[in-house]
Point group: C2
Chain length 226, copies 2
């Protein structure tokens, strides 16, 4: 099945990374892919634009089916290959509800992390304000506390929605991985960092680790002063 | 089943509205609910906080299951009541992929609409820039063009993911309804406005129309100069 799949992706992008993790977890290794450079704006190539009017990565195609939004691609893969590989959306209603809930909360964590870590990238120089960055940092710290609470409640060694690896881990791990990568002090999110250490050893994560992070393991320190 | 459901909601909020539409479409009329005022910050009440550490609306409970993120609640309801009421996620893989794709694209449309319509609400006075608002408007116009293209491609009388009403319509209609509400010129999105005129007559939409919009049908003109 993976032979008629094509993924256009960029290194380190949480949206790309989560689709790659989903593909691994659903045992779809062997899919076709093209690694494009964000720096060189290769995502604006005709091949991507033909499939994705937003000209963004990931861009994903399975046969004639195109699904580019990362959460959409992950849900699509889970449904299309429900009985293959890891079951990512549990069937038990309560477990399923929690998976959906935390999946969508991930967007808060991602946005708030971006608002601090990539503030200078998103906001042109003349529009930047110390007061805005300070507020963004406060919002991120508050967000981290929520996730710390979730993990604390579920106990040591737990995944993000309980004892099983699920779609929450697929979509959220690439966001969480930015905290150590960008030198966030461990004491700001000790439980998330325990979780990170545990999950980073998982085969699907190791197989999809951003090549740029392998080449340059140190990363920047934009979250150092969080 | 609806008797053991409780929804805390605020008038006019797209996230609240979409959960209400989903409840109607799944024939779950009769659910318990509490209409809280955003102006009076009633969402910060103890009842909501006990179920939702973010103290946000919607806050939704079904039996012992709490699902507060609006997309999560909609997906949960669809799965829990798959054979009841309108089928919102089609089983055909290609149709399903499109529904997921457009569902998540809705978040782009919503954010870009907020970035213009609620610019002054989100950005403190000292941090506002004409250049930022101008860019936000350009981004919103560009986003609208994408959706216009989607509708054009599917043909007159189509819903957002094809000939059937689906989860895309559930999550996206409340966002689209803001364009006429906030006096966006019709020529900026003629096909979306045709869609709006068609879908606003649907029973699930009429039953959930924001009470504040009924009381004050005129709305503000924050999208007039788009």
């Amino acid at each position: 099945m993976a032979k008629n799949m094509m993924l256009y992706w960029g290194s380190g992008s949480p949206p790309c990374w989560r689709v790659m993790i989903a593909l691994e977890e659903k045992q779809l290794q062997g899919y076709n892919h093209k690694h494009l450079s964000f720096d060189k704006k290769e995502y604006q190539c005709a091949e991507v634009k033909a499939l994705n009017p937003r000209a963004q990565l990931p861009t994903f195609k399975h046969g004639d089916i195109v699904v580019n939004e990362s959460f959409a691609a992950c849900l699509y893969l889970e449904n299309a290959f429900k009985t293959q590989g890891t079951r990512l959306i549990p069937s038990d209603p309560a477990e399923q509800a929690l998976v959906y809930q935390r999946m969508f909360e991930t967007e808060n964590l991602q946005q708030k992390m971006y608002d601090v870590a990539f503030y200078e990238w998103y906001i042109p120089e003349g529009e930047r304000h110390e007061s805005a960055l300070k507020r963004n940092k406060e919002n991120l710290v508050k967000e981290l506390k929520l996730w710390e609470g979730y993990l604390e409640k579920m106990g040591k060694g737990s995944f993000l929605a309980g004892k099983n690896f699920s779609m929450v881990d697929v979509v959220c791990f690439p966001v969480i991985a930015y905290f150590p990568r960008l030198h966030c002090p461990k004491e700001k999110c000790p439980r998330l960092m325990e979780y990170y250490e545990m999950v980073k050893e998982r085969p699907s994560i190791k197989a999809t680790w951003p090549p740029e992070w392998l080449e340059n393991p140190v990363g920047q320190d934009t979250l150092k002063s969080l």
